[in-house]
């Protein structure tokens, strides 16, 4: 597994975030917002689309989304118009949005014949086609797209592998068939099916699908002249996301320096979640039932959308994010900012008053850069010790299973769904009663949270660093952690 590569699309997104954050922190956004497309894209820069005007128009659409507005619903307005509207009207309903102007309308002819076709004597493709859509033209097979029913049999039988299956990257990336295209061939998300995992965002090479962000709002609260007090809640997978040798203690100190009032490990919330979930599990087992984990919002949504009969088995325990946020709210009036690798958490947070904002690691790092802070040469440390070893283990696939096995004092049969495809496979088997288990850990991202759409390190490296950090925890078990009370 590779880290999320820093493609040109990713760089543009980050440059926009850094500029926006800088303008908010320096109080210049009202005047300078309209200059961002020109600052990011200079005349001499490499271009990928027809002209620089289109590229800049797309940057404007991205800014609209970054300000929290769906670009499709606000085509007529400029980013500056929308900046004035912030706070007046509710922002995007959906976190993940298609930027139509950026969508390349990828071809939707599903099967095409490539030059590898030899016009062979057997012409198996012609024979197998159930609708006679394949004919030979100019010494090569040709598929009549008006007749083709996209069954794929021609591709299967061709001895040369000459028939190409064309699937849009976004459609291919989506495990729940939530992506399709409209009559203009632009990508469309079916929000009734979408589980908000963010795979399509990572997959689109044109950057035409993106998530809205609360970066501007958080930056406003972070400013020195603002009285808001913010608590940063760092998701367990934060270790190693901010650069080589940037220790957890350094990150805590840096966050306090850029204006956060306190920094707390979400691992503490994970401790609380695991203890409550264990009690729930024992209750289920006494009724001869099983339990599905609830900490990954995409997995939970998948069960709700696709497996109605299994909904009763989803854990009712709140996720580590919510538990940690509730803990903060009990002790203070601070606003809570969850900082994680996840886009689905942005949707989950809208369901709970205790979580005020969600940022990704990527967005936070953009704010750090905008605040002119260089972590590589930063040498301050603050002790960070809120979670037990158990709570910290929530960061990677299999971690939750390990914790559940360790805090129950009987033989527990657990399975883990590592990524949406594995989750689907296990849930299908369970629905058909082909497998048996007591507890299932479901994670939508491959590698668990360490493989989330907004991570900046390789999942396997993150796992190792998290394990090292977990070993340093003051307590091994969640129940030993006095902060959970």
């Amino acid at each position: 597994m590779a880290a999320n590569p820093v493609s040109e699309v990713v760089k543009i997104k980050r440059k926009i975030y850094i500029e926006l954050a800088r303008q908010v922190l320096e109080n210049t956004i009202e005047d300078k917002l309209k200059k961002i497309p020109y600052k990011i894209l200079k005349e001499k820069d490499e271009r990928y689309r027809c002209c620089i005007h289109k590229e800049r128009a797309i940057i404007k659409e991205r800014i609209k989304l970054a300000l929290g507005f769906d670009p499709q619903l606000h085509k007529e307005e400029t980013p500056s118009d929308l900046l004035q509207k912030r706070g007046e009207e509710d922002c995007c309903n959906n976190i993940i949005n298609v930027i139509e102007l950026a969508c390349d309308s990828c071809p939707i002819d599903k099967y095409t014949v490539t030059d590898s076709c030899r016009n062979c004597v057997a012409h198996k493709c012609v024979n197998v086609c159930p609708v006679d859509a394949i004919v030979t033209i100019q010494n090569k097979a040709f598929i009549d797209q008006k007749k083709c029913i996209e069954c794929g049999r021609c591709k299967e039988v061709c001895p040369y592998g000459a028939i190409h299956e064309n699937i849009r990257p976004c459609v291919r990336a989506c495990s729940v068939d939530a992506l399709s295209s409209n009559s203009d061939r632009k990508a469309v998300i079916d929000y009734d099916k979408c589980v908000g995992c963010g795979s399509c965002i990572k997959a689109c090479p044109f950057g035409a699908i993106s998530d809205s962000t609360e970066l501007v709002t958080v930056c406003r609260s972070l400013k020195k002249d603002n009285d808001d007090k913010l608590s940063a809640l760092l998701a367990p997978s934060f270790v190693g996301q901010f650069g080589a040798k940037i220790s957890p203690g350094k990150i805590k100190s840096a966050l306090l320096e850029i204006g956060f009032d306190e920094v707390i490990e979400v691992g503490l919330g994970a401790d609380m979640t695991s203890l409550e979930e264990r009690d729930e599990l024992i209750e289920k087992l006494n009724k001869d039932e099983f339990l599905l984990s609830s900490c990954c919002p995409s997995f939970k949504k998948l069960v709700i959308n696709e497996y109605k009969d299994l909904i009763k088995n989803i854990s009712n325990t709140f996720s580590p994010m919510v538990k940690a946020a509730q803990k903060v709210k009990k002790a203070s009036d601070n606003k809570t900012v969850f900082i994680g690798p996840c886009i689905a958490k942005k949707s989950e947070a809208t369901l709970f008053n205790s979580v005020d904002y969600v940022l990704t690691f990527e967005e936070l790092l953009c704010i750090i850069v905008a605040a002119d802070m260089n972590l590589a040469s930063y040498d301050q440390q603050k002790e960070l010790n809120d979670a037990s070893k158990h709570g910290r283990q929530f960061a990677y696939s299999g971690g939750l299973c390990q914790v559940m096995q360790s805090i129950t004092n009987f033989d527990l049969e657990t399975v883990k769904g590592n990524g949406l495809d594995e989750c689907l496979d296990l849930l299908n088997k369970k629905a058909e009663q082909e497998i048996d288990f007591d507890f299932m850990e479901g994670m939508a991202c491959s590698g668990g949270c360490a493989g989330g759409p907004a991570v900046l390190n390789k999942p396997q490296v993150t796992k190792k660093l998290v394990e090292l950090f977990a070993d340093k925890a003051e307590y091994v078990k969640a129940e030993q952690n006095e902060f959970t009370a």
């Binding site: 880290a3 590569p5 080589a244 790092l365 850069v369 802070m373 260089n374 972590l375 040469s377 900046l456």
Partner: protein, 79 residues
């Protein structure tokens, strides 16, 4: 032939713009051309953070890099 000095900035702006991938690419070059390059990291090179990621090859600064661009620059020097 002299050993080529490659210094890659791992300051936060460069890290965010892909410094890690530059290092990985140079590690590959290091194994393909043993004893030809000397790889180092820096906390900041020349304060040109808006042109990240940045690297210095034999005292010359290169901005807005990608792994491919840096490989090309270094390989030209090796040949």
């Amino acid at each position: 032939m002299d050993i080529i000095k490659v210094e890659i900035c791992i300051g936060t702006p460069c890290y965010l713009m892909g410094a890690r991938e530059l290092i990985e690419e140079m590690r590959k070059v290091e194994t393909e051309h043993i004893d030809k390059i000397k790889l180092k990291t820096a906390h900041c090179i020349d304060d040109c953070c808006d042109k990240a990621p940045v690297a210095k090859v034999d005292n010359q600064i290169y901005e807005d890099l990608t792994p491919d661009k840096l490989r090309e620059i270094v390989l030209k020097k090796i040949k």
